[in-house]
Symmetry: C2
Subunit: 181 residues, 2 copies
Amino acid sequence: MTSTLGYAILAVLARGERTGYDIAAAMRRPVSYFWTARHSQIHAELQKLAAGGLVAFETRHGPGPQDKKVYRMTPEGGDALRAWVTEPPRERPERDELVLKTYASWLADPELVRRLFAEQLRMHEERLAEYEREEELFGGPPDPGDPRFGNYATLRCGLGYERHRAEWCRWMVAQLSSARA
Amino acid sequence: MTSTLGYAILAVLARGERTGYDIAAAMRRPVSYFWTARHSQIHAELQKLAAGGLVAFETRHGPGPQDKKVYRMTPEGGDALRAWVTEPPRERPERDELVLKTYASWLADPELVRRLFAEQLRMHEERLAEYEREEELFGGPPDPGDPRFGNYATLRCGLGYERHRAEWCRWMVAQLSSARA
DNA sequence: TCAGACTATGTCAGAAGTGACATAGCCTGG
DNA sequence: CCAGGCTATGTCACTTCTGACATAGTCTGA
C-alpha cells in the first residue's frame, strides 16, 4: 500500500506525535539506524499518508512562514504498520560503494588502497565506541513489548555491523601492508 | 563524472570484454556482492559511457532482434576507474527493511516476529554455507594485484556480513522466545 | 520436431531519492 | 541589539532505480 518510507514515518509516529521536522531529525545519521530520508521526501510522504488516512495532523502556531503541523498516527495507520511489520522484507539490493571499490582495488596503487581502508577502519572504530556508549545507557535488553526494545534491537544490529566492518577493514589493511613489505 | 553504476560497469569490464547481458548477469544476486542493477539500467548506462568515451563496443552477430554489442573499457575508462577507486566513498544511506521492521517490532505479535527472524536466520545460514564453499575454492587470498583479489576481498566482506547478520537474528529469536516462556 | 530456457538489446512510465532554493519567526550569547 | 543557529514547511529539477513490455534468434533435451 504505502511505500517503505511511509512505514518508516509511521514507525516514528507510533512512539508519539511529531512534526515533519522532528521525523526528519529522527531519520538522520547518526541518530537513525533504521531508515534515512531527507526532509523534502518526508514532507511529501506525510501528505500522502494524510490523504490515505494513515496519519492526521493538527496545526499549531510555530516559527516560520507556515504554522507547524503536529502529526499523529491514526488507528488505521497503526493497523497498517502492525500488519506490515511481520511480513517478510523484500531482499535488499546490495549497493555499497566501498565493496565496489574493493572489487576494483586490484587496479589501483596498493598504498592508496591501504590508506582508504585505514581511514574507513578509523571511522568504524569511532562509531563502534559511540554505539557501545549508547548500549551502556540501556540496562540490558528491554521487554519486546516496550518501544525501547525497537531502539535496543536496532542498536544491537548496528553494533554487530560496525564490528564486522571494522574487522574486515583490518583484514584489508593487513593484506595491503604485507604486499608492500 | 560518471555515476556509481558507471564505475560498477567499468569494474566488470576491467576484467575483460562483455556484452550488456553478461554485465547484467554478473551484477545479479547471488553472484554479485559488489553492486546490483537491472539490465534496463545497464544498457542505458553503457550508452552514456560510450558517449563519454569510457567504453567502446564492437557489433557482432548474435541471437535476437539486434546484433550483440561486445563492450570493452577504453584507456580513458581505465584512468577514470583507477582514480575513482582510491577516493573515499560517500557515506551510504542506511535503508534496511528488516531493521525498520525491528524498530517497529514492539507493536506486533512476538510470535510472528520470532517466526520472521527465524526465517531470516535460515536464509543467512544458507547463504553463509554457500559463501564458505566458495571461499574454499580460493586457496587463500590472492595477491592484491590479481583481479581475483577483488572477488576474494568482497567475498570476505559478504562472509563477515552473513555471520554478523545470522548472529543478530539468533539473538532476536532468543529474545522473543524467552518473552513467550 | 517442438517446447522451453537462454542469449540479447532495448523503451517507457513511474516511483524513490537528492540537493538546492525559498521563506521566516524564535532563541541564545556576545 | 544583533548575528547566527535552530525550528519549521515546502517546491522543483534532476538522477537513479524498478518493473513491465517488446522482440527474436539459438540451443538442448524430451
